[in-house]
Amino acid sequence: MEGKAEATQILTPGASPEQKRYGAILDVAMKIGLLVLVATFILYLVGMPKPHVPVGDVSANWSQKVDKYLEVTQIEKGWSWTKHLGQSDFLTFAPIAFLASVTVICYLTILPIFFKRKDFIYVTLVIAEVLVLVLAASGVLPSGGH
């Protein structure tokens, strides 16, 4: 009976419940992230608070390879920026990281819908996707190395 209801639901024009939820969360998260991104970037431009790396040093080295840039500006890889959120350049990373996390948030919010529907293939797909994104975000994978 449930399978029949499911088939009817899929063949009706318009968005499925999981699409509606995903879209709603994405809409709110994207707008919050964008507003905070613009706000923190303007603070960075006016130097409030003082940035960790002076803008002159950033521009003098932005043509380098990333490892050279990090060496000169004394920035560590990975999540080290979270230790310097009191400085305007690293503060800008917070909304950037948030926007890069929006997909994980959206996936997690639709997981209960697939569970409730006993749609275990898509439950598995959601969990696998979240694991891939979390692994990429974790910083444990090698990136660079030249």
């Binding site: 499911e6 899929i10 063949l11 024009p13 318009g14 968005a15 499925s16 699409q19 509606k20 879209g23 709603a24 994405l26 809409d27 994207m30 964008l34 991104l37 613009v38 970037f41 303007i42 431009l45 006016v46 130097g47 803008v55 002159g56 950033v58 521009s59 003098a60 932005w62 043509s63 380098q64 390879k65 990333v66 490892d67 920035i75 560590e76 890889k77 990975g78 999540w79 950037i96 990281a97 926007l99 890069a100 929006v102 997909t103 293939i121 898509y122 797909l125 696998a128 996707e129 891939v132 994104l133 990429a136 975000a137 910083g139 994978l141 090698p142 990136s143 660079g144 190395g145 030249h146």
Partner: protein, 322 residues
Amino acid sequence: MSKRTFLFLIVIAILMAIFAVSMVQAASDPASANAGGADSSLPWWAWPLILLIVTFFMGILAVLGGVGGAVLYTPIIGGFFPFGMDFVRGAGLFVALSGSLAAGPGLLKKGLADLRLAMPVALIASTTAVMGAMVGLALSDEIINTAMGVAILAIVVIMFLAKKSEYPDVQTADKLSSILRISGVYHEPSSDKDIDWKIHRTIPGLILFIGIGFMAGMFGLGAGWANVPVLNLVMGAPLKVSVATSKFLLATTDTSAAWMYLNAGAVIPMIVVPSFIGIMLGSLVGVKILARSKPSAVRAVVLTMLVFAGLRALLKGTGIWK
């Protein structure tokens, strides 16, 4: 001009003005005397400002030309701005992400982007995008530029030759798409009909996404240029569903690679943020003027720009035009 459009343009003007004023404020800093990179005679603040303006127009062109912003962004900014390729590719992924995040809610709510179609594809593409990013970050700029030049020129050929099929003829859904229950119905306003669709050749399509994800991560190109032909021509999804699903799934594909670049330190806010805002605002304006544009003329401009950008990357990589 409608009241809504007028308000929209006012918001854009205010945002641009805030950026410009902030740039002028930043320019009064003593550090602004520093040049914008080793090969540049301009002050540092000129580059983010030029980047904001260039990406704004790039965003308009991308929408009108039916391509994602990153396929234009990465080769053009990499070829003509004084930024290292690692940072340009990192920013390119965030550019693709910005377009997808902005368009995603509307496409999902209208039922044009299909979550059931996007999720298996996204899992494969995002996994291989991580691998592509790892390879890309380990290669020299010369190799990356050469390979990207070849890739961009190949993309131009694909875009030029690939035909589009509004409603591909899918007689029966294949076994895998039936198991995954990938099918749907959307309302087509132009004909006032409900369009029933299903897909086939799911396994070959998914295999192609292994390569698409890898290239997206390696070159920071996004993947819209390849997503649409594979979803539409190989898997048989209607064109509107393919375009919308492609746009939506970029957020997942590029997020995984974007995290790799972020963790590698290849994200500089002074490059990423003006690009992000410029492309997003440009895309919004592009959507507004889409109805009045001549698609064939815009497409010719986009293809010409891509040829030029591809040749530039190739010549830069081979050392002929430094």
